[in-house]
Symmetry: C2
Subunit: 491 residues, 2 copies
């Protein structure tokens, strides 16, 4: 047992080491090596028959959604989907897993965060990591060159050969419409262009092979100071200090269209053909954004880099300017709530003949938005209804189950959202209490007197007002008239 | 190379063998053994550097959904969700993967069809196989004893201690409502009870250990003849022929409540306490189904067995009576389009103290329903709109991009579903053609004359009628009045 305890401790330490490396986004090789060690230790340890303790949990990094959380999620999705439809998007869907080779080589550093399925002697599969790569695979597979679509209520893309910057501007308009409609506070959309970044690195003296790694250092400028970023570039990534300083002069700038114009005149930057193309497109983009009335929401920010390998042109990222923190509420870290950009090369990577389909798109950070909305509702102690039930069918005395079942069935058949308690003889008080807890506004009460008189009683749960006019012969229809029309009670 | 070719052939044959075994639902051990052989062969083979051919496909058993297919799917989901909400259900969601141990031991024979994730030194994970087991895990984890919920628009369950058969009857009512609303043809819901099956097997002389395997033979009676089922029971599963005949006398019967009453009097079957309980509950169930007006849709069918291990009481399965085949349409195999039952033991398997939460639920076979609806629409050559765009903003002459961008932006801000072509100078004909292809009913045309007159022209795409009254100052609002109100054109 002592040996087992020692081994268990080793497994625990090695597990922590692996998690730490993953968090630090260490190199894939290093992580694989340490994982291999962990698996070896685990094999040595073997199963512990003495404590077959079953752990009741969801996998790490995943969560359940309760009815309350789903009600919030539905509202958020509703805002997003209405916007996508307003912009004429079709919708597609793709499987939750893809062939491993479909995902390989598309995400750069992020690739090691992909979940693989176990090799069961068939195809090598991985869980999809985003919706953009499956979308590009879908376009190439179906030889589509032209589509505007959304994908599970969070990804919107426009594919096709169009005049420059018109689809790009629409993506930014969509982002602004959604973030405004969600009412989660002031936001700003940072915009940059991969070609400007690459051109800038080149004229500053960064070698081609270091573009991506320097990009990822620059991307940290929204979280840490320039000094720290410079230290990383020089100390860890071996950049000459004067090269870093030249980069620093650029990436600490942000502004509107005037900054674009100023950089177009920049004696050094204008020597890069790439950078000039990017700046020219950004100038045109700003014209369109002004026509769309959203130029005040957009900031040209030279430090915006975005991690994923597949972007080729304009890139953008929306951040909340301040969290909508209320009294007593934990402040939420300001972060990206939507992002996207142009990826003109990705579809060609899947096409056997390398035919390119230019694409531009955006992704809404729905998980982060859910948390923000959820937290705000909690702070406001706002009650969220988790059902839409309009009426509870209740009885005032015992032995009326048959009557309740008949009435509730007529209501369902008439399209009315109705419930009953699953008890043969529930107490009226319990039935009314259920309405209050679930927020059901009306209760239809059947009692001996009502049965005699050939009516049912409809009561407003909050005001306790009652009407007794509903004919029993055609209950469903009569009820429908009242429930479908204006509320019979003052509210 | 000759050696490589031989190895490739071996891998191919072994791959076919594994697929064959999986199709035949062979034992897990046998499959694992053969998969191990396959992996060994593949390792010997190694990667073939000479032909790095990239296969563009989705994983086996998965599919993409095109915009047209998604439009069908949305309509089907809409019918289902409206029904679930009408019955007062909340909604929850759970992750796409679960701890492997959560899924283990819940599905019987089906367990080997579960996809495992690769062990990356963390938790052992599997893709969820249905929504019932994750739901039970959710209840146990959150110590919930009472909930009525649905889950991704296809699973509905009622958990809680209630008076017998009331929630069960509602599940059947929901199934009938959904299948009627979908208009996919006549259907029948077969009903049985696990306790009746087990009681019947016992009095016929089947040993306890053979209940499940004999169950799975009986379940085939909807596809093959009694003779074949009997051959399997006697030949493959070692049942005495007279025992099989006794089972045959029962399982070939089906009918309504009168069959329930007849079996309650059956001198042999009534000796089984279990069977009597099941029959008593079914009698009560039929009373409630009559009050719900769906008793004519229900058939008590002693051959219905259902594969999954977790059912404990009433079970049901809806089948289409005839496919809605049209002239020239391929007939679809009649099959199950919805199913479910009572599973009173599953939550207790997750609870550390084994506390039980009785549950009853149903699952809609959405994939099969999509195919049926899709095929019917294709046969009818019905046009399915894949967007909801109300109006296309078009220009009659060149150099009007600015005006188009301003107008379309106003429309979006006014909540109108609007599009424009992403071209600087599109031809009017191309713009009208786009409307016809996409089914957009209205086109708002900006031209030089309209700009001078301070109006825009609104044209009905099909009738070509036009109105020119729309004020330019507040286009968004004016357009909204027209587009939000009754159509300005006769249809």
């Amino acid at each position: 047992m002592a040996e087992r305890a020692a081994l268990e401790e080793l497994v625990k330490l090695q597990g922590e080491r692996v998690r730490g490396l993953k968090q630090q986004k260490a190199s894939a090789e290093l992580i694989e090596e340490e994982v291999a060690k962990l698996l070896k230790l685990k094999a040595q340890l073997g199963p512990d028959e003495s404590k077959q303790k079953f752990v009741l949990k969801t996998p790490k990094g995943t969560r359940d959604y309760s009815p309350r959380q789903m009600a919030v999620r539905e509202k958020v999705f509703d805002v997003i989907i209405r916007c996508f439809k307003r912009h004429g998007a079709e919708v597609i869907d793709t499987p939750v897993f893809e062939l491993k080779e479909t995902l390989m080589g598309k995400y750069g550093e992020d690739s090691k965060l992909i979940y693989d399925l176990k090799d069961q002697g068939g195809e090598l599969l991985s869980l999809r990591y985003d919706l953009t790569v499956p979308f590009a695979r879908y376009l190439a597979m179906n030889k589509l060159t032209n589509i505007k679509r959304y994908h599970i209520a969070k990804d919107f893309d426009i594919a096709g050969n169009f005049d420059p910057m018109i689809p790009d501007a629409e993506c930014l308009k969509i982002m602004c419409e959604i973030l405004s409609s969600l009412q989660i506070g002031d936001f700003l959309v940072k915009v940059n262009d991969r070609r400007i970044l690459d051109g800038m690195f080149a004229i500053c003296g960064v070698s081609d092979s270091k573009f991506r790694t320097i990009c990822s250092s620059v991307d940290k400028l929204d979280k840490v100071s320039w000094e720290e970023v410079k230290n990383e570039m020089v100390g860890e990534k071996g950049l000459a200090p004067e090269v870093a300083d030249r980069i620093g002069d650029y990436v600490q700038q942000h502004g509107g269209v005037s900054l674009v114009e100023q950089l177009l005149q920049d004696p050094k930057l204008s020597q890069s053909k790439q950078a000039l193309e990017g700046l020219g497109d950004l100038k045109l983009l700003f014209e369109y954004l002004t026509l769309f009335g959203i130029d005040d929401k957009i900031s040209f920010d030279l430090s915006l880099a975005r991690g994923l390998d597949y972007y080729t042109g304009v890139i953008y990222e929306a951040v909340l300017l301040q969290t909508p923190a209320q009294a007593g509420e934990e402040p939420l870290g300001v972060g990206s709530v939507a992002a996207g950009g142009r990826y003109d090369g990705l579809v060609g990577m899947f096409d056997p003949k390398g035919r390119k389909v230019p694409c531009v798109g955006l992704s809404i950070g729905v998980e982060r938005i859910f948390s923000i909305v959820e937290q705000r509702l909690e702070a406001l102690e706002e009650k969220v209804r988790t059902t839409e039930t309009q009426v509870l069918v209740a009885s005032a005395q015992k032995k009326l189950l048959e009557e309740r079942l008949k009435l509730v069935s007529e209501l369902w058949d008439a399209g009315i959202k109705a419930e009953l308690l699953y008890k043969k003889n529930p107490k009226l008080l319990n039935q009314l209490q259920y309405c209050e807890e679930a927020g059901i506004p009306l209760v239809a009460i059947i009692g001996e007197q009502e049965l005699k008189d050939g009516v049912i009683k409809l009561r407003s749960v909050t005001s306790r007002e009652e009407v007794r006019e509903v004919g029993r012969k055609a209950k469903g229809q009569r009820m429908y008239a009242i429930l479908g029309g204006p509320c019979p009670f003052k509210t």
